[in-house]
């Protein structure tokens, strides 16, 4: 009796209608989960952007549209009751750009050379070096920041004992810290591009009379250049946005934009923070999209 029943159920389970239902259900479920994921990711950001246009000084209540918070970023001067001056903002931005620019240039050159070496040379234990390449990407920022701090204070101590010169944390130390983590990102991006490059093209150039240097300049470099540029843009964004590592390697007078924003929050939460964050978001997004477009090319 029960056996027969089970058999019947199994038969029903195998029916094409049920299969269709399961498929529909799975598809619908997948859509729902995707939607929830997207909401989770982007709702806070949407709130941030929306409230940067809020006329109220309190984040919680919507009181109408205004551009005054954006305006205040450019016009605040000392003694007008504002928590910040636009001069401070410009200085922080300038520091960020200096750090980002220099760290990007150094990290791009070193990262590209590392990528070429890893892709072109065969040596023993190569996998180990490849693993090390990913370490700065997976390592927690806080670990990286603290280790850099420990490293710098140790290095400064030794330098002071040897030469009597006393060094302090400042922009150069931030730059060194940013180079340290950016090399990995550049190398990984450039390597993906080199892997796509057919080595026969380089052989063809040599076959036609180009030595290694000219082959690199005329064939290899132009062909991997989109990858290099893409890696550089990625490094620049990461550098602009970095807070944790900068926090540990920054000294007095070397405030970058993220550090400055953090300082503002500690004083008072004003929608001006939303405005400045929105601008940073747009800038980063623009650079990252450019970088992605270059990778596709």
């Amino acid at each position: 009796m029960t056996q027969q029943f089970i058999h019947q159920v199994q038969q029903k389970m195998r029916s094409p209608h049920l299969d269709l239902l399961i498929r529909k259900g799975m598809q619908g479920g997948l859509w729902a989960v995707t939607a929830i994921g997207i909401v989770f990711l982007y709702l806070p950001i949407a709130v941030l952007v929306i409230y940067s246009f809020n006329a109220s000084k309190l984040n919680a209540v919507w009181q109408g549209f205004t551009l005054s918070w954006y305006h205040s970023l450019f016009t605040s001067v000392a003694g007008t009751g504002s928590d910040f001056t636009s001069e401070q903002i410009w200085e922080a931005l300038w520091n960020s750009l200096q750090v980002g620019g220099l760290a990007t240039i150094v990290a791009t050159v070193l990262g590209t050379m590392l990528a070429l070496g890893l892709e072109r040379f065969r040596f023993q234990r190569k996998q180990w070096l490849e693993g090390l390449l990913f370490l700065p990407i997976v390592i927690p920022d806080i670990t990286m920041g603290i280790s850099l701090l420990v490293f710098f204070s140790l290095a400064f101590q030794i330098i002071e004992q040897l030469t009597g010169v006393r060094l302090v944390l400042s922009l150069p130390t931030i730059i060194i810290g940013h180079v340290a983590f950016n090399i990995s990102y550049v190398a990984v991006t450039v390597r993906a591009r080199i892997a796509e490059l057919d080595p026969v093209l380089e052989e063809a150039a040599m076959d036609l009379g180009a030595n290694e240097l000219r082959t690199f300049g005329r064939i290899t470099l132009p062909l991997i250049f989109p990858g290099i540029l893409s890696g550089a843009l990625l490094a620049f964004t990461l550098s602009l946005d970095d807070f944790v590592i900068t926090f540990f390697t920054a000294g007095v007078g070397s405030t970058t934009l993220p550090i400055f924003v953090y300082g503002m929050i500690k004083q008072s939460v004003t929608p001006a923070i939303n405005a400045i964050s929105t601008l940073m978001l747009i800038a980063s997004l623009g650079i990252v999209l450019t970088s992605l477009a270059l990778q596709r090319r």
Binding site: L201, M206, L208
Partner: protein
Amino acid sequence: MTAIELVNVSKVFLGEQQREVRAVDHVDLAIQTGEFFSLLGSSGCGKTTILRMIAGFELPTEGEVLLNGEPMGDRPPFHRPINTVFQNYALFPHLTVAQNVAFGLEMEGVSKAELHARVLELLALVQLKGFEKRRPHQLSGGQQQRVALARALVKKPQVLLFDEPLGALDLKLRKEMQLELKHMQQQLGITFIYVTHDQEEALTMSDRLAVLSAGQVQQVGTPSEIYEQPNCRFVADFIGESNFLVGQVIEQEAAGIIVLVDGELPIAIPGYTDLPIGKVVTLVIRPEKITAHRQTPTDEAGLLGKIQEIVYLGMNTRLIVQLTAQSQLIVRQQNVKRIISPMFEVGEQIRLRINPDNFQVLLEGTLRTSVQKTSKLRR
């Protein structure tokens, strides 16, 4: 004069898990100036590796490559007056057609005016006038092939290397390009070394060719020498279709020998009188060199066999005929007349006639006769 010579050249690669792969195994070759020379062999037999050692991309593990009698040693590719047309053309994707062709001249430091003139001249030669500004991806396979050719020819190389250059083209275009390349080679008088796995291509284009197998040269010769006088079973089997009959020399006469095939069928072969009695040999005969005939009571000439299979192929008919207990012969009968009703039937006993001069005798083979048959022979 010898353009390229390989003296006892071997190449050993370190493959997976440090295992040694002998890609080229003690190869000796002498390629004459102005010759169209092909390297023919199946995939993985070492053709590309030989070409890369001539071009200078790989250095021999042993032996020496010579150009015009001069040892190349470890001279890099950019110091050898040799150019290559690569398997998938290897055109520079970021340069235009004209820039691709000009690349080799730029490296020589040729003046702007001369460079321009030479590029136009070469593009005209390969019938690509007006395509100067295009990028490689905007060209068809055949056009890319021509750019690759122009790019190599502009260097006026002494030797031009081709690695399966037509492999990616469709059949019709391939045939056209074969003719064109052959004409170009005859006009320019440049030594061509041409790698292919396509035997028809090698036979139709080459002045001479080398048949390779497992990194070794099996035979070097003109296309007709390779086809008509294969020096080993591998070559006979690899080039076209061959029948093999293994037998033992049982008699020597003034004019020739008698070989007993499979211990039961005696076949008289002219010549080879120096072969000792008891020597095991393989007789090679091409299917088109056998004629099949109806049995008649009066006509006793030829070998008797029973038809196993008949396949009509339009231009000819392919018969498989059981000759001895162990051996079958493939026969290709030219359909010189229209075949309205079948000439033969499966199962029919027919006579096969072979001019004994058409047998190629190879001094190799293993007898397949059973113990029983051998003892019968002794009696």
